[in-house]
């Protein structure tokens, strides 16, 4: 069992996770990620070799002060010893699984080295940039999946979560993962950034009672593992959804909405209502905040629309239930999203998920904020948008915070 950075008090409450680093030479297992006091810098080793791996210096920079992980975690993690089951010479696709492992360890997850010990197998690949966004590219996904079959077969009872970066084989790879027939259905993590994937993994156990946990977790019993069962059950649920979503509580566009009145549920409590988040916006207040799809007109393109050569067609997105809008399909003609507060004195706050995936907001003629999607960021995402009372406005005392959640899915 590998070492890890989990706080001792939490070790027994979260699922044990095996992090798989697929390579074109076969999958490697992350055998250990442990802090080593006295180590001058983070270092990566492989079983059977006494020297650090060739990319150990890159790993040190990834974890170092000012590096991507330090920016995400708030501070540079103490120097860790990373140990893999094998070595490889080139490539950067180890960055995503290693960053995920650090994020999971920081959240108290127990990382294990053997498939038989794992409650969840995390299969991830890709390189990251300074913001921990996953760089699109050709990661030989199909080859890596094919070479991972034997390893995955060693843990048939564990849940499976997969991160597939954008690239030429991304869709085919997702189909290949689903074709594995994994039970429960594999969770396809958001492939755009490491934080989004971590949020999806850490999502509260919404709708957990409606699902049965993975087979291995069914064997667990007792209060000490209840949280773990619920957490992985949520993963299983999410794996069956059309798009992995982040909980409302995880969105930056939250806060004062906690004081908003409860919605009128259309059919029982919504999944979001089970999470620790602000109360959804009142149903009657939804018209006060308008979310519209910006679509390219026939014969035009999103590029022409984004550069103002053609006006976008604006289609309002209706409310599905509570504070949830009907998800929008990421069709090629969906160029972006426009949001606008319909009440005077209100200001708009849009979640980072959409802001990160879009060009800087543009103001349309009617005052709406337009977020045109970047070409490399057209992926499943969920964002929240809020209309907040403006500072010093007269609306502050009389208007409730209005909050809507909208998903963009493939």
């Amino acid at each position: 069992m590998p070492g890890h950075a989990a706080p001792p008090g939490r070790r027994m409450t979260l699922p044990a996770i095996l992090v798989v680093i697929p390579t074109t030479g076969g999958p490697l297992r992350l055998r250990a990620l442990r802090p080593r006091p006295g180590l001058p810098a983070p270092a990566a080793f492989a079983d059977g070799d006494y020297r650090p791996l060739p990319w150990s210096a890159d790993y040190a920079r990834l974890c170092g002060a000012g590096g991507p992980l330090a920016r995400h975690l708030g501070e540079a993690p103490p120097p860790h010893e990373l140990r893999l089951s094998g070595s490889f010479d080139a490539g950067r696709s180890w960055e995503v699984p290693v960053c995920l492992a650090h994020g999971l360890a920081a959240r108290g997850h127990r990382l294990v080295a053997e498939p038989a010990e794992a409650d969840l197998i995390l299969w991830a690949t890709g390189a990251v940039d300074l913001d921990l966004a996953v760089r699109p590219g050709d990661y030989a996904l199909l080859d890596k999946i094919d070479r991972s079959r034997a390893l995955l077969a060693e843990a048939p009872g564990a849940a499976l979560a997969v991160l597939l970066p954008e690239g030429p084989e991304r869709d085919a790879a997702e189909a290949a993962i689903r074709a594995l027939g994994w039970d429960p259905a594999p969770l396809i993590l958001p492939g755009g950034s490491v934080p989004a994937a971590l949020e999806a993994l850490a999502r509260p156990a919404e709708a957990a009672p409606a699902s049965s946990p993975p087979r291995r977790l069914r064997r667990l019993a007792g209060p000490a593992v209840a949280v773990a069962v619920a957490g992985v059950a949520a993963l299983a649920i999410l794996g069956t959804r059309p798009a992995p979503v982040g909980g409302p509580a995880e969105h930056p566009a939250t806060g004062p909405a906690a004081q908003a009145p409860s919605p009128t549920p259309s059919s029982g409590p919504s999944p979001e209502s089970a999470a620790e988040g602000p109360d959804p916006a009142p149903a009657g207040a939804a018209p006060a905040l308008r979310v519209e799809e910006l679509r390219a007109p026939a014969g035009s393109s999103c590029r022409r629309v984004a550069f103002g050569a053609d006006p976008a067609e604006r289609r309002p997105v209706p409310v599905e239930a509570g504070d949830r809008l009907v998800p929008s399909r990421l069709a090629p003609d969906l160029c972006g999203i426009a949001v606008r507060a319909l009440l005077p004195g209100m200001r708009i706050e849009v979640g980072a998920e959409l802001r990160d995936a879009a060009l800087p907001a543009a103001r349309l003629g009617d005052g709406a904020q337009a977020y045109f999607l970047r070409e490399g960021a057209r992926q499943n995402l969920v964002y929240a948008v809020q209309a907040l009372p403006g500072e010093g406005s007269g609306a502050a005392s009389s208007s409730a915070v209005i909050r809507l959640v909208h998903a963009l899915i493939r």
Partner: protein
Amino acid sequence: MSDEARLLAEIHAARGLMRPGGSGQAALRPGHAALWAHATRMPGAPVDLAVARAIRDDPDTARRYRAMLGARAVAHAPLAAAASDGALARRRVGPFELEILAGEDDAPPLLILRGTGARMPRAIEAWLGDETVRLDLGPPVEGVILLALDPAVPDAALLGRMLGDPASAVFLL
């Protein structure tokens, strides 16, 4: 051949037989080129077993070999200047400091080599009695070289044991 010439040849042969070490021992002694090739070999490269045996069995050859190593080493220490009688956790070799970070749980000990010299060593060789081990050192990261003294890697584990013994000699090459 005249009688005088034959007599001189016999005297020369007799002196040769009477020389210390005798011709049999001298024949086993590797030449300078062979020793130099052994001293400059890459870690893990094939070893001339005759040379290795001569270094182990013949003190004179061992002395010559160590002199060669010392000449081409970035730094070397024939013995640790230790103020304690226990296993060493830290050791100074010329301008370099070697520190052994103890293993914990199933984590192997780590050797940390720090240096301020302009040139960092590329290999390390340790001697203790007639045992010797040579390992490649990876490239430094921010002036530090790390090695895992992994018990699963025999040479690395042997190096760890040797470095902990004050009587071991260390050559940084």
